[in-house]
Subunit: 613 residues, 2 copies
Amino acid sequence: MSPEELTELGQQLRADAVRASDAAGSGHPTSSMSAADIAAVLLANHLRYDFERPDHPGNDRLVLSKGHASPLLYALYRAAGAIDEAELLTYRGLGSRLEGHPTPRLPWVDVATGSLGQGLPVAVGMALAGQRLDRLPYRVYVLSGDSEMAEGSVWEAVEHAAYNHLDNLTLVVDVNRLGQRGPTRHEHDLDAYGRRLHAFGWHVVEVDGHDVEALDSAFSEARSTTRQPTAILARTHKGRGVEAAEDREGLHGKPLKDADAAIAELGGVRNARVAVHAPPDGEPPAVPPDTRPEPPRFDVGDKVATRTAYGHALEAVGSALGRVVALDAEVSDSTRTEFFAKAHPDRYFECYIAEQQMVAAAVGMAARGYVPYASTFAAFLTRAHDFIRMAAVSRVGVNLVGSHAGVAIGPDGPSQMGLEDLAMLRAVHGSTVLYPCDANQTVRLVSAMAGLDGIRYLRTTRGDLPVLYGPDEEFPVGGSKVLRRHDHDKATVVAAGTTVHEALKAADVLEREGIPVRVIDLYSVKPVDADALNDAAGQTGCLLTVEDHHPEGGIGDAVAEVFSDGRPAPRMARLAVRNMPTSATPEEQLHEAGIDADAIASAVKLLVERVIA
Amino acid sequence: MSPEELTELGQQLRADAVRASDAAGSGHPTSSMSAADIAAVLLANHLRYDFERPDHPGNDRLVLSKGHASPLLYALYRAAGAIDEAELLTYRGLGSRLEGHPTPRLPWVDVATGSLGQGLPVAVGMALAGQRLDRLPYRVYVLSGDSEMAEGSVWEAVEHAAYNHLDNLTLVVDVNRLGQRGPTRHEHDLDAYGRRLHAFGWHVVEVDGHDVEALDSAFSEARSTTRQPTAILARTHKGRGVEAAEDREGLHGKPLKDADAAIAELGGVRNARVAVHAPPDGEPPAVPPDTRPEPPRFDVGDKVATRTAYGHALEAVGSALGRVVALDAEVSDSTRTEFFAKAHPDRYFECYIAEQQMVAAAVGMAARGYVPYASTFAAFLTRAHDFIRMAAVSRVGVNLVGSHAGVAIGPDGPSQMGLEDLAMLRAVHGSTVLYPCDANQTVRLVSAMAGLDGIRYLRTTRGDLPVLYGPDEEFPVGGSKVLRRHDHDKATVVAAGTTVHEALKAADVLEREGIPVRVIDLYSVKPVDADALNDAAGQTGCLLTVEDHHPEGGIGDAVAEVFSDGRPAPRMARLAVRNMPTSATPEEQLHEAGIDADAIASAVKLLVERVIA
């Protein structure tokens, strides 16, 4: 398109953003208007995208990191002919695909945005996929706000992108000077951003973001830059094009007061249709057909850490499924993803100590059709909580594996202990939460995870644990295992992971004392095996949960939820980590926290004798 | 100390680190040895600290961000005479104060470390306190690893420190080239770090980290640098001083194999005692005595958003208590901390969109004796989960306030909705979780928070809600309110926040239909009012919880936990947000999620009729 046409298109996008927000009665037109010329130039002259085939392997990707500028994105879709005017005006309505912030309910949206500072990190994952997995020349464009450059996650991504020479990645920062509540830290000081990005190794272009020719050149420069990602820093005005709104404070996130006048000032409604460049032909390298190699097998009675079993299982899953990739945050010797890294170096991604970037890259790769396993200490997955939350909104499938669960890690102390990971992951929409207690169970669950939807989490432990199950035993997600059962069990102990072994020891002691108890291995914390728990409740009358986790949000809550279905509930009690741990041996830790075999046996007796209350 | 003495002291610190780790059978001696010369020079020639008076207002602060190098810190304490040799060798033992990673169980440790990338952000909070609150010349020193420079939180802090001209802050990066599993991204390329820090506005000094004279000069240079924080980039060798360990991979987090030989190679056990420089005299400005100004009062029946009530209450608490400070992540117009900012600009800290830095700064200020309230959208507090978790380990008192809770926000969609915040905050050790439903209740709770220990969380809502309670009503933490009660209630509805109002509507409908129900306003989600719930269970036989939150980890789990005490439990059911919300009006959202008055009334009927199951 010519400069004149681009300028016209920019005005069309602005007017449509104003119209959509006005129809909705809410939204962010001013944040859309600042970036309209950027979007126009990108759409008309640079983006290669088949809107009828969003799954075309050669399509460029566009991530609207400033997700609140959704009216601009939807105006762009209209200009591309992907949606019509009637749909544009359904913006933010119940049932509309055009949500307040973009989600993959729209086929052209790869990942949900709206939590600022996530677009670039996720785009890094896509660009890595393009470079190393798909090996296709698609480009990844990110349109970001200036406010969100304050997020540390952006700088994790900036570092990661430059280090990996992602020249297929272009970040456009819409430097409109105004955040939500007032001026940004650096306002229109483009050099402030430029210096920082340059220091990290980026190619930087500074432009007037309302000069379509300068933008056009900047995008061309980005495309011809090799071995470096490019940042286009665009100086813009929020509310551009409408005098009452342009570069003014106090108008963030509000429809324009006089939309009709604004649309008139913008030149009225237009209906230009852009013929978007077609994506280049080409297919990603053929993924080898899935195979069923022999998974690792462990002998009953051997002592193996579930993190080690995970490492071997992941290596095997990587051999079986060509789309599996693994990511780690510089602790692969601890999480044991090092086995995968050695076996499948082309599909292993070292993320260094940047958990947000690790999860974001996993999301980006999942959006490109890969099956990521991202691993670090369970405790440090909390660093990426917002990314995990948003991954659920993005409806992608991501495997997360947290090692070093609970006090059982021993002397390293509470900073290293995952004691809230089950709570965090259970509360993620549509998640699966798995917590194996032995090596063979781990192997089965690691394999099963690959085929599930949504966010699936596996919790592993640091120390060696005896192998309880044979290598051919099956562990369906949503199931459980009854490890001890007698005709007249007086109570049921529900455990998972480390505490299964303590529960078994306690059950043996109790049996000798004439108190038979059932022991359930609740390896699937979500979904939870309601049938087995109901049976146990009916047959034994009372349940004791025991977990190496804080009392809130974990196994105790998961079991209690089963009995929140309107029926009479059994008597229940729970053991969990209620103290603030310090340094100690694993055995001492379990004892201090009151979740070892002694504590279980004592609690069962109190429960059976109805003393607890 | 002379260079020779400093060198000797460095060797003593190394030998003691080796000894402590050897005695413990675990720990990170090699990570300690790289930084021993840095620590020696800092302790002997620059730190001003009265180890007998850790509360001396003029003490410099030392934050060991690379917390795994705790043996070095403890060796330093021994050299300063703060602990003796016998205690040094209790390292990592049960009951020892010398934990695997430092915690404030030691009086000279202000904040717990061990989750990498947190030391600098927290130190920024301390340095801000020194600059703007205490107005004392203490300096804040951070000793950081090189691996952790990959954490985005570090760059949030780097930005924040330079922007605020924190010349009282010195970051020393122990660039020992080796992370946990192998080389760091930049290995010994000091310039890589230097370019980045310089671009953000820091003064940078690069030194040989084993050259005590160069280190001495660098610290002096940092002290004489004004208007800029200083980073000392120290090129070091991991395992320095022991040939079998120096600059070698595979030795992270392991005691040295032959400790005796290593100690001999380091020159044997030494007992040098350092006369640490005394802190300068001086007191912080007198905080005005606490007063009891009239808190804001709202009239019953008026419609006020609890976030707005929070804003007014915070302003009043700020007037009443001189040690209250407020922080916000660039959404003060939404969270309403803007009222505080206007009334108390000297105690308001704009953190821009950097939630990790916001919470870290709050932790740092809390460690200096202030009472911080840190606010953003509830959803975006997930960004700071790891900092919240570690704040609990640090045993500091921090108030967190999350606005825009739940689907009730309306059309902005799921990215902006706090739907897992209760789960996250309930699972924090020792936390308090409050969720008011009206303006007067909010005022009382905001005031009560200030006096509690640990992490306290208040959840606020976006939309206006009718004022239910008079301004003189009291709301003890751990309590609840019974809003509807009849002689023969057939069920109890337990709600909080938004859903209280839906529950009341449902109760009125049900009463007209001849089904009297009790309604409990569970404004204190943790601790929860077990007595009231037990009474309700005993008297009405069944409970329905209803919450604007995912089903896991929130109010349903909190209520169920009450009945996990070994006694027979009532029949329970729960309504919560089980769908993935899209855009819609607040009313539509509550309806779609099945948590509005209609859904409550229907669920109560099923529960009363024993149909649910």
